[in-house]
C-alpha cells in the first residue's frame, strides 16, 4: 500500500515538474520571440504611417507634376484601351474579306470587289480612330487650360514636412517598442525565475538512479524487439553522443526503422534499456514514457514517407508540433479568447524563423498538399525542429531526392547540428550522404551489430562489406567461405524477400501461438539458404551493385 502511495506521489511530482518545465520553456520562447515580433509590429506600423503620409502628399503631388506629361500618359492609356476594344472589329473586317476572296477565287471570279470593301471598312474604322484621337486632343487642351502650370515649391515644402513627421513618428514608435520589450522582458524574466525555482524544488524530490556519462545523449543497451518468433532487433548496444551526427545503416529488413520505433516508443521493446539525457540534462529511462510524451523530452523524428497534414498550410503544419506547448486549455480555445491568438502569434514567429533557416519562407502560406516532394521533406525536418529537440531522428531523409537535393540536404543537416546544437540520428540508404556527414556509423544486419565507428572504419570493415555493400567480383567464394559467420549474415535479394515474407508470417501469427514454430520459421531460411547460396548470391550481389 505504502509502495503504491509512494509511486503515486512520485508520479504526481513528475507531472508537476513537467508542467513547471513547460511553463518555463514557454516563457523562454516568448522571450526569444519578443524582439522579433516587436520589430515586425514596428515595421507594419511604419509602413501604415508611410501610406497615410503618401496619401496626404497626393493632392499636392498632382499640383507639382508636369501637367503635359501627366495628361499625355493618361490619354495614351485611353487610346490603348480604345485600340484593344476595337481590335475585334478590324479582325472581323479582314476575316470577312478573306472569306470573300477565297469564295471569289474558287468561283474563278474577280475579287477586287472584296478588297475594295475591306479598304472601305478599314478606312471607316481608321476614320473613327482619328476622330477619337482628335477628341482626346481636345480633352488635353481643356485640361491644360483648366490646370495651370506646375507649382513645385508647395509640394517640396509639404514633402519635407511629411518626411520630418515620419522621422519623428519612427523614432517615437521605436522608442515605445523598445520600452515595451524591456518591460515585458523584465516581467517574463521574473516569471521565469519563479518557474525555475519551482522546478528546482520539485526536481530535488525526484530521485533518479540512472547513470549516464556526460557526453552521452542516448544510450541503448541490449535492445531486443521480437515479433512473435522473428528477431527484428537482437541485442543492440550503442551510444549517441551529444552534438554528433550518427548514422544507422543496414540492408533492407535489417531492423533499422524498428530501432527508431523502439526509441520513439511506437514499439514496446521486448528487452533492453534505453536512456536519454533530456532537455534539462537529466538522465531518463525512455521505457517509462508514452509515444506522445517522448517529444517533450527532446526527441523528435521525421518519417520515411512524408507524413504532413495535407489540408493546412506549411506554417500551420509546423504549429502542429507545438500542440503541447500551448498554455491555454481546450475550453479557452473553444471560447475563442484572444490569448490563444497571442500564443499563436508567438509560435508563428518562431516557425517563420525556422522556415527562414530552412529556406522555405516563401512556402509558409502554401497548403502542404501539392508541394514538391523535396520541399515536403524539408518541411518535415522543420517541423521536427519546432520542438526544440536535443536529438533529431531522420528516417531516410534522402529517399526520393535527386543528387543536387541530396547534397543540399547534407549541408542542411550539418547546419542544423551546428545551429540548434542537437544531435542527429539518421537512417539512410544513400551511402554518399552517410559517409560524407556522419561522425560515427553503426552497421546492422538482421538486428545485430556488424560494426560501429567512423565512416572510414565501417567502410573498411569486412563484415560490413560482405553483408551490406556486397563482395566484389575478384574477391569471391573462397573468402566468403572462410568467414562462416559472415556468410550466415549474408543477405542477398532473395533472402531479403524471404525475410520479409517470414516477417509477415510472424506478424499474422497470433500471439497465443507457441513461439517455437515461429522460431524455426525465422531461422530456417538462414540455415537452408546459406549452403546453396553462392550462385544465387553472386547474381543478387551483381544486381545490387548495378543499382
Amino acid at each position: 500500500m505504502a509502495k503504491i502511495f509512494d509511486k503515486l506521489t512520485a508520479r504526481l511530482i513528475e507531472t508537476r515538474l513537467l508542467k513547471a518545465r513547460q511553463s518555463r520553456e514557454w516563457t523562454d520562447t516568448e522571450l526569444s520571440e519578443l524582439p522579433v515580433m516587436q520589430e515586425r509590429k514596428t515595421a507594419s506600423r511604419l509602413s501604415a504611417k508611410q501610406k497615410s503620409l503618401n496619401n496626404r502628399l497626393k493632392a499636392s503631388a498632382f499640383k507639382a507634376c508636369d501637367k503635359e506629361e501627366y495628361i499625355d500618359e493618361l490619354l495614351s492609356d485611353k487610346l490603348r484601351r480604345y485600340d484593344v476594344r476595337h481590335f475585334m472589329s478590324y479582325r472581323a473586317a479582314y476575316h470577312s474579306a478573306a472569306k470573300a476572296v477565297f469564295k471569289a477565287q474558287k468561283n474563278g471570279e474577280d475579287h477586287d470587289a472584296a478588297l475594295d470593301a475591306l479598304a472601305q471598312k478599314t478606312a471607316a474604322l481608321d476614320g473613327k480612330r482619328v476622330e477619337y484621337i482628335a477628341k482626346l486632343e481636345e480633352q488635353k487642351k481643356k485640361f491644360l487650360e483648366q490646370n495651370p502650370a506646375s507649382d513645385d515649391a508647395e509640394y517640396q515644402a509639404l514633402k519635407e514636412a511629411c518626411e520630418k513627421e515620419f522621422d519623428e513618428y519612427k523614432a517615437e514608435t521605436e522608442k515605445r517598442g523598445a520600452e515595451y520589450v524591456e518591460r515585458r522582458t523584465a516581467k517574463l524574466r521574473s516569471k521565469r525565475e519563479k518557474y525555475e525555482a519551482k522546478e528546482k524544488e520539485l526536481r530535488a524530490k525526484v530521485k533518479s538512479d540512472i547513470e549516464l556519462p556526460d557526453d552521452v545523449l542516448l544510450r541503448v543497451e541490449n535492445l531486443k524487439m521480437y515479433f512473435g518468433g522473428l528477431k527484428a532487433v537482437d541485442d543492440l548496444t550503442f551510444d549517441v553522443k551529444a552534438g554528433e551526427i550518427f548514422g544507422l545503416i543496414g540492408p533492407n529488413g535489417a531492423g533499422k526503422t524498428t530501432v527508431f520505433n523502439c526509441i520513439t516508443r511506437f514499439y514496446n521493446a521486448t528487452g533492453g534499456n534505453m536512456y536519454f539525457r533530456n532537455k534539462d540534462g537529466e538522465a531518463i529511462d525512455l521505457r517509462r514514457f508514452k509515444v506522445h510524451d517522448v517529444i517533450l523530452e527532446g526527441i523528435s523524428r521525421t518519417f520515411q514517407n512524408v507524413e504532413l497534414v495535407r489540408e493546412i498550410s506549411v506554417l500551420e503544419n509546423l504549429l502542429v508540433a507545438c500542440t503541447r506547448n500551448y498554455r491555454s486549455g481546450m475550453f479557452v480555445q473553444a471560447l475563442g479568447i484572444p490569448t490563444v491568438r497571442r500564443e499563436d502569434d508567438i509560435l508563428k514567429s518562431k516557425a517563420m524563423g525556422i522556415l527562414k533557416f530552412m529556406g522555405l519562407e516563401n512556402y509558409a502560406a502554401w497548403p502542404a498538399m501539392g508541394l514538391p516532394y523535396g520541399i515536403l521533406k524539408k518541411v518535415e525536418i522543420a517541423r521536427a525542429l519546432m520542438a526544440n529537440p536535443k536529438l533529431i531522428i531522420l528516417d531516410e531523409p534522402a529517399a526520393g531526392l535527386n543528387n543536387t537535393e541530396t547534397a543540399a540536404l547534407a549541408d542542411t543537416i550539418v547546419k542544423i547540428r551546428d545551429e540548434f546544437g542537437c544531435a542527429v540520428f539518421l537512417v539512410e540508404h544513400d551511402m554518399s550522404l552517410v559517409m560524407s556527414i556522419c561522425d560515427r556509423i553503426l552497421a546492422i544486419s538482421f538486428g545485430k551489430t556488424l560494426a560501429i565507428g567512423t565512416p572510414r572504419e565501417v567502410q573498411s570493415d569486412k563484415a560490413v562489406q560482405e553483408a551490406y555493400l556486397g563482395v566484389s567480383d575478384d574477391q569471391d567464394e573462397p573468402a566468403a567461405e572462410e568467414k562462416t559467420d559472415a556468410a550466415e549474415e549474408q543477405p542477398d535479394a532473395t533472402s531479403g524477400e524471404e525475410h520479409d515474407a517470414t516477417e509477415e508470417k510472424a506478424d499474422a501469427a497470433s500471439v497465443e501461438e507457441p513461439t517455437e514454430k515461429a522460431d524455426k520459421n525465422a531461422e530456417s531460411p538462414k540455415k537452408t539458404v546459406a549452403p546453396k547460396k553462392p550462385a544465387a548470391a553472386k547474381r543478387a550481389k551483381k544486381t545490387k551493385e548495378g543499382e
Binding site: 515479433f227 512473435g228 526503422t257 520505433n261 511506437f266 514499439y267 506478424d507 499474422a508 497470433s510 500471439v511
Partner: protein
C-alpha cells in the same frame, strides 16, 4: 423444461432470418469492402414483389417467393453494376454512404410502385406440431420448421459452393485482395456482381420469412432490426471468416431468448424487456476485448 423448449422454438425463425441476412452482408463485405446498409430495404423490396404475386396474381407462395428473390437479385446486381463498379475508388466511408443513399431511393420508390397499403403475406405451411414433454405441451409452428429447413439448405449450399466451386475460390481470392485477384486473372467484376445478386436473393428469402411470421409486410423497414443484429454478428464473429458471422448470428437471438427464459425462471419477468440491451452490451464488451471478432486473428500494426 417445456417452457424452455417453447422459448427455443419461438426463436427459430429470428435465428434463421439473422443467419441469412448475416451471410448476405458478409458476402458483400468480403467482395465490395463495405457494409451494405441497403440490404434490409432491398430484401423488403423482394418481399413486396412476392406479396404482389401472391395477392394480385394469386400464385402459390412457393412460386412467389423465388420470383421476389429474382427481383431483389436483379436490383442488387443493378446496384453493383451501375453504381459500385463506377465508384470503385470511392473510399470505405463513401461506399457506406452510397448504400444509405440506396435506402432512401428504395424507400421512396416502394410506395410509388406498390401503393401505400400494407400487403398481406401468407405462411409457407399452415399448422402446428405439438407434443408433450414432462406433461406439458410444447408447440412449434410448421412454418418455422420449413424456414429452418430452407435456411439449413441455403447455408450448406453456400458453404459448399465457397469451399469447392470455382466461384467460391474467386470470392475468397477477391476477399483477400482485389487487385492481386484481378492480376491473376479473376474477373472480379463478375464475382462481385454474383455476390451482390446472391445477397439480394438471400435477403428476399429472409424478408419473406419475416413477413410469413407476421402475415403482412408492415413497412419497408421490416428488416432493419435484423440487419442491425447482422452487422453486430458480423463484427462479433469477425468478418475475416465466413463461418464466424454465421455462428455469431445464431448466438445473438439465442442469447436474448435464453435471457428471457432465465428471467422468467428466476422470477424477474421484466428481464425480457432488457434482453436485447444485455445481449448488445455483452457483444460490445466481447468486441472491445477481441477487436478482430471471436474467430478473427490478431495482426501486428506496422508503422
Amino acid at each position: 423444461m417445456a417452457y424452455f423448449l417453447n422459448n427455443l422454438f419461438i426463436v427459430i425463425l429470428p435465428i434463421c432470418i439473422t443467419v441469412i441476412v448475416t451471410l448476405a452482408i458478409t458476402v458483400i463485405f468480403k467482395t465490395s469492402y463495405t457494409t451494405n446498409f441497403a440490404q434490409g430495404v432491398i430484401s423488403a423490396f423482394g418481399a413486396y414483389v412476392a406479396a404482389k404475386c401472391l395477392n394480385s396474381a394469386g400464385l402459390s407462395i412457393w412460386l412467389a417467393v423465388p420470383i421476389g428473390a429474382v427481383a431483389a437479385m436483379a436490383i442488387a446486381i443493378f446496384v453493383d453494376v451501375v453504381i459500385f463498379r463506377r465508384g470503385r475508388y470511392v473510399n470505405g466511408l463513401g461506399k457506406q454512404i452510397i448504400t444509405m443513399g440506396l435506402i432512401s431511393i428504395i424507400v421512396g420508390a416502394t410506395p410509388l410502385i406498390f401503393g401505400a397499403q400494407t400487403p398481406k403475406f401468407g405462411k409457407f405451411v399452415e399448422g402446428n406440431q405439438s407434443f408433450t414433454v414432462g406433461g406439458e405441451q410444447v408447440t412449434v409452428t410448421n412454418n418455422a420448421l420449413v424456414c429452418l429447413g430452407i435456411t439449413i439448405a441455403i447455408v450448406v449450399l453456400i458453404f459448399v459452393l465457397l469451399r469447392y466451386s470455382k466461384w467460391g475460390l474467386s470470392v475468397r481470392a477477391t476477399a483477400s485482395n482485389e487487385y492481386v485477384a484481378e492480376m491473376v486473372g479473376i474477373n472480379t467484376h463478375i464475382v462481385t456482381a454474383i455476390s451482390w445478386g446472391l445477397a439480394g436473393a438471400l435477403g428476399a428469402f429472409a424478408a419473406a420469412m419475416a413477413a410469413s411470421n407476421s402475415t403482412e409486410i408492415s413497412h419497408v423497414y421490416i428488416m432493419t432490426n435484423y440487419q442491425v443484429n447482422a452487422f453486430l454478428a458480423g463484427i462479433l464473429g469477425g468478418f475475416a471468416t465466413f463461418y464466424g458471422p454465421v455462428v455469431a448470428a445464431i448466438l445473438i437471438p439465442l442469447a436474448s431468448s435464453l435471457i428471457t427464459w432465465f428471467g422468467n425462471t428466476v422470477g424477474i419477468p421484466s428481464l425480457s424487456g432488457w434482453a436485447m440491451v444485455i445481449v448488445y452490451a455483452l457483444s460490445l464488451i466481447a468486441i472491445f476485448f477481441k477487436p478482430q471478432g471471436l474467430f478473427g486473428k490478431r495482426t501486428v500494426k506496422k508503422v
